[in-house]
Amino acid sequence: MWEQIRSNQVRSVFLIALIAGLLLAVGYFLGLYFFDSAVGGLVIALIVWAIMSLVAYFQGDSILLGMAKAKKITPDDAPRLYNVVEEMKIASGLEKVPDVYIIDDPALNAFATGRDPSRASVAITSGLLQKLTRDELQGVIGHEIAHIKNRDVLLMAITAVMLGTIVILSWYASRFLLFGAMTGSGRRSSSRSGGGGAQAIVLIVGLVLMILAPIMAQLIYYAISRKREYLADASSALYTRYPEGLASALEKIGGSKQQLKSANQATAPMYIINPLHKEGMKAADLTSTHPPISERVRILRAMTGGASFANYNDAYRKVHSGKQVIIPKTAAAGIGAIGIRQASLAAPGELGLASEKASDKAASTHEVSDLMLRLNKYRTVDCECGARWKIPPGFKDNDVLCTRCGRRIRL
């Protein structure tokens, strides 16, 4: 029944074909200008695209994780996080537990990457790990695992590469055109001085295309990514049987104003929310990579009847007060009634202490930062006065002065 989700991909395939068409058109006009042969341009466009696709397919996930400065962790490093990932792997029916990465950043965000369900990774920022309760973390991980399960990660990688190719080709083509126009000694104009009118039309169409293609490709890319987010939200609700978990996690993430340092335009659609959000920016326009958070939360909260896709569709209709469905009927029908489970009692942090006491809050806050320090190979020494020193790996001295009590502590 899970594979029926793919019927939803018809629209995606259409959009991808559109981007591919743009890519070919750019190549076509590129060839007309520079080599007097449209075929030559097409060949160049395809070669550039093929090389970029190969790199993306074999190295894409490690490049992305490297760009995000993500660190791979083992079950011992963060047992609760790993446990949640394993839980969601079982709930989704994924064949292999994805690799788990942490990004050392106080911003709140998460993403999934990989070429197929058997080679995938989920990454989460340390800030998010610190702030979320177990239920919320489960909702977020469920959303990311859904991206892997629904093969969104590969889809997004394919479109991102095509977008990148279009941007690169258009950029170079427009620069060459400008340069050629300025020096005024184009091969083209001397060899074909006859057909002036037709040539001018080709020139104008080509120029317009060079300028518009990157923008159009980007809009299509965003359209694909927006659609996928609803499906991943619905899948997360289904896996966790607790839509409120993801809803309140999204609220926490949306309420934070911190921008992720390592995100950029091309990688933005991968994250659970757009990492480049700015205050005052209209969230629901064409250029947004994700549906507005408030809307996603409203839909999840409106799922009162159960946690199945049908319930998500009902909730979507309730929020949008229309007849539209977001998940195709065939996919929704394959799943019977799924009840919503009870909330589990747990506070944020690895310990999950169900307490709001300031001291407990402080203790759990440093769990995640200590985890990051361990991953960064810091040493820890305790002073008799109660202070605890955390020493960076580059520290050369053999002892450290405890500034609180004046003792020297040997390392």
Partner: protein, 139 residues
């Protein structure tokens, strides 16, 4: 964290679950906003955000001291007085990532605390904590 003055890895000291970053070379101290919130929370201060905004919005002080970049967001910090008597000049991050005390300011702060009986004020707890943690800078 890299020291905004020496650009070397700072040490981290944790006491009563509050962490501070301390540069052993220049003796400067970074008080992160998250840690400030924890300290204020355990001292029973409810409205931490208002306190932080108060410091961030405080008027910039004209000084010949070199400006430093925030170790968290890498933007230039602004110089402002944090105590009531305008004696302790700190660097504050524009977006409220935290407060940097130069090595000299930590010394001033300790002297202030020794000379005067603690006054009531929003920053008092913060200054007392920093003073307590770094009173033994030399053997």
């Amino acid at each position: 964290m890299l020291c905004p003055v020496c650009h070397q890895d700072a040490l981290i000291v944790e006491y009563q679950n509050i962490e501070l970053d301390y540069c052993p070379a220049c003796h400067g101290v970074w008080f992160d906003a998250g840690e400030l919130e924890l300290l204020m929370g355990s001292a029973g201060v409810e409205d931490f955000q208002r306190y932080l905004e108060g410091i961030v919005r405080a008027p910039e002080v004209e000084t010949t001291e070199k400006k430093h970049k925030c170790p968290a967001c890498n933007h230039k910090m602004k110089k402002t007085y944090i105590d009531r008597d305008n004696k302790i000049l700190v660097d504050v991050c524009h977006v409220g990532d935290g407060i940097w005390f130069d090595g000299g300011e930590v010394q001033n702060l300790i002297k202030e605390l020794v000379e005067k009986s603690p006054e009531k004020g929003a920053s008092q707890g913060v200054l007392a904590f920093v003073g307590e943690m770094f009173k033994h800078q030399t053997d």
